[in-house]
Amino acid sequence: MCSKDHGEMCNLAELTPDSMRNTIVRKQKLSPVLTLFEIRAPLIANSAKPGQFVIVWTGEHGERLPLTISDWDVANGTITLIFQEVGRGTIELGRLNEGDDILSLAGPLGKPTDIENFGTAVAIGGGVGTAIARPVAYALKQAGNELITIVGAREKSLIILEDELRGFSDDLIITTDDGSYGRKGLVTEPLKELLESRKIDFVVAIGPLPMMRAVSDTTRPYGVKTIVSLDAIMIDGTGMCGGCRVTVGGKTKFTCVDGPDFDAHQVDWDELRARKAFYFDEERKDREAATAGGDN
């Protein structure tokens, strides 16, 4: 349980609300809409596994936002979150700076990704999903897989973690929708070529829903085990509300406790899309207010 530099962790009875402050120790803008926070959270760092997430709450008026633990450092007692500013919650989060505390940070949540030596594994990240895929890809490599990583984004400025991924992947393929970097096109094109040309044993895809669904459709005819990380709308993240339910293989599952990883070929994508879009109007109003409202 203990790691250097935070004595209070050795003895959980000595924890105090003050010692639990989640201070942002590093902030980095990865692209105009992507922000990285390294946050002091020794207990979470200590327990985190690939595929797990945290729930962030920034204050009285805020929403509880699920964000994947993109990286963690047990020795320093920190975790890394990478998030895209898409609406009020993430825009407000992005306004915090180094030295600020995140009022509330709970985790690690969800089941860790099942990592094995499958043989040849393809890890696919789309947009901010690349940040989420990173620890899973790394763990696949550590487990002995030959690792091919595919990263896709709309355009060059949205490609993140390239050097790091290149460092541990056996091969890294980059695609952009507009061809401003790497191959022009979608991640499913190189994926299909791989499936055609060689034996692929395992695919994991994390990114926007249409991309995960397209990957699922691409691998299905080849019968390759394909895992996706679903981002259903959540509140508590602990199995209490059922708001995050999805249908997988005809059964109702709670994404936050039964997932977020599921067998892509079993997911009811239409239902997930509908549930995710349900609050579109309310979210748009909030987003407009957040963008217009400045810092208060």
Binding site: L12, A13, T16, E92, C241, D286
Partner: protein
């Protein structure tokens, strides 16, 4: 001589007005009403009412103090065994407990024990200059730490009692706020937030540390607590996993569990403009089920501005499990009841959102194991009701997280943690449990009663372990 006649009515906010706000519905007795009600009590020698109270408050004793005008004294008397009287006086199902056994029940109407309890607690809160914090009984015990998992009524009770003994206590809570169901489940028009906040503050003033955002089983495990600084652990994690119907279309958007609906509104304040969590104001909301959770969901739906709210229940009115008072309140507020009706499937629109429920008519057959007449489907009676919001409020099961991450913890097949009833200890030495996590969904006062027993069990366990007198 005791005054005969009916009990004093509880003054209430007018129904037409109260559906527009989240202020408390019941306004509380005035002094005159309280004294008048106290005079109804016969001060029975054998105190039959006390046996109906899960924490055995000396009911006639506190009522006599009210009668004598010593309201603070009454509050102190209650606090000897119930540390959350302002809460229990409001939310206890008194008619099933203390008031059921009141001698006057046989002759007509029981003494309004709960309302008097509330009166005493509120009086004290309004007139005391800050609560006096008792000194720990034995400061020596401060070197022993106890971890409490879950900040609901069970956890708060264990923590308060042990802190009064002198122990160092830390509560670990999964959510970002305290109170458990008292905050995310029970709406503020039944239990105002300032009352809950005051009770939590009191527990903190006893020296209890509350650390939120810790999901035991994930952030760390129960065994980590025992290994890293704590002598004993109390598990008071409640029954938070919603039951669903398992019928076609249940995952359409616009269909909520009771927990999700109440959490969005009570915890996240989704109905208020300045709060980020969204909710859609229903045109027609149907609430499935007829327990207290269902009533709370329906009454909350009215208050956020739904045009129409209907409770759909498969049995008849007589079998509705909610408190009679709450059913009346709901109806006064405009909630409709559609009885002997059971959903068969949910029907969605082109966007995957619910637009209607196909229902079946039911009739009552033979009594089942619960003694209530069993609802039987009327074949071919399918009909459609429109709804753009459905709230499935069928109750809760214990959350499996602690069970699945704590090796050696014995549980019932349905998930309840098994304990020794006398001590509250589980199958793991040093690990205790109580409240809804053990019994399944029950009541605030029974969770507190279980907390009391566990606090005694923990005290005894630690003393024995360390040879303390």
């Amino acid at each position: 001589m005791a005054r005969g006649g009916p009990r004093n009515k509880m003054p209430q906010q007018d129904a037409a007005k109260r559906v527009q706000n989240f202020d408390e519905v019941a306004l509380g007795y005035t002094e005159e009403q309280a004294i008048d009600e106290a005079e109804r009590c016969l001060n029975c020698k054998n105190k039959p009412c006390v046996a109906g109270c899960p924490v055995n408050i000396d009911i006639p004793a506190f009522i006599q103090l009210i009668k004598a005008g010593d309201y603070s004294g009454a509050s102190e008397e209650i606090k000897k065994t119930n540390s959350l009287p302002a809460i229990c006086g409001r939310v206890c199902p008194q008619e099933e407990q203390c008031e059921k056994l009141c001698i006057l029940t046989k002759k007509g109407e029981s003494v309004a024990i709960g309302r008097l309890e509330r009166f005493a607690a509120d009086y004290e809160a309004a007139h005391s200059t800050g609560e006096s914090v008792p000194e720990p009984q034995n400061p020596e015990l401060a070197k022993y730490s106890v971890a409490v998992v879950g900040c609901g009524p069970a956890g708060l009770t264990v923590a308060g009692d042990l802190a009064k003994n002198g122990y160092s206590v830390t509560i670990f809570e999964a959510l970002h706020k305290t109170g458990g169901v008292l905050r995310y489940g029970i709406p503020e028009f039944r239990l105002p937030r300032n009352i809950l906040d005051r009770e939590v503050k009191y527990v903190e003033s006893l020296g209890v540390k509350i650390i939120s955002d810790i999901i035991v089983g994930r952030t760390f495990r129960v065994e980590d607590l025992l290994r890293n600084g704590f002598e004993a652990v109390f598990v008071g994690t409640g029954a938070g996993a919603p039951k669903l119907m398992g019928i076609e279309g249940e995952n359409l958007s616009g269909i909520y569990s009771g927990n999700e609906w109440l959490t969005r509104i009570n915890l996240m304040r989704a109905h208020r403009e300045e709060y980020a969590t969204p909710i859609k104001i229903p045109t027609r909301a149907c609430v499935i089920g007829a327990g207290n959770t269902a009533m709370d969901c329906a009454r909350t739906a009215m208050r956020i501005g739904s045009e129409e709210v209907t409770i759909v229940y498969r049995r008849s009115r007589a079998e509705m499990p909610a408190r009679g008072e709450e059913i009346e309140n709901a109806e006064e507020e405009g909630v409709k009841l559609m009885l002997l009706t059971n959903p068969k499937r949910f029907i969605g629109d082109e966007k995957g959102a619910v637009k209607a429920i196909e229902c079946l008519k039911m009739e009552l057959g033979e009594p089942d194991s619960s003694g209530r007449r069993r609802p039987v489907t009327v074949e071919g009676s399918e009909f459609i009701i429109e709804a753009d919001t459905v709230i499935v409020a069928l109750g809760q099961n214990p959350n499996p997280l602690i069970r699945s991450t704590t090796e050696g913890l014995e549980t019932e097949s349905w998930g309840g943690i098994i304990i020794n009833e006398e001590t509250g200890m589980t199958s793991i030495p040093g690990v205790f449990a109580g409240g809804d996590a053990v019994t399944g969904e029950a009541t605030v006062i029974s969770a507190m009663g279980a907390g009391k027993i566990a606090a005694e069990g923990i005290d005894k366990y630690i003393r024995e372990k360390h040879g303390i007198e």
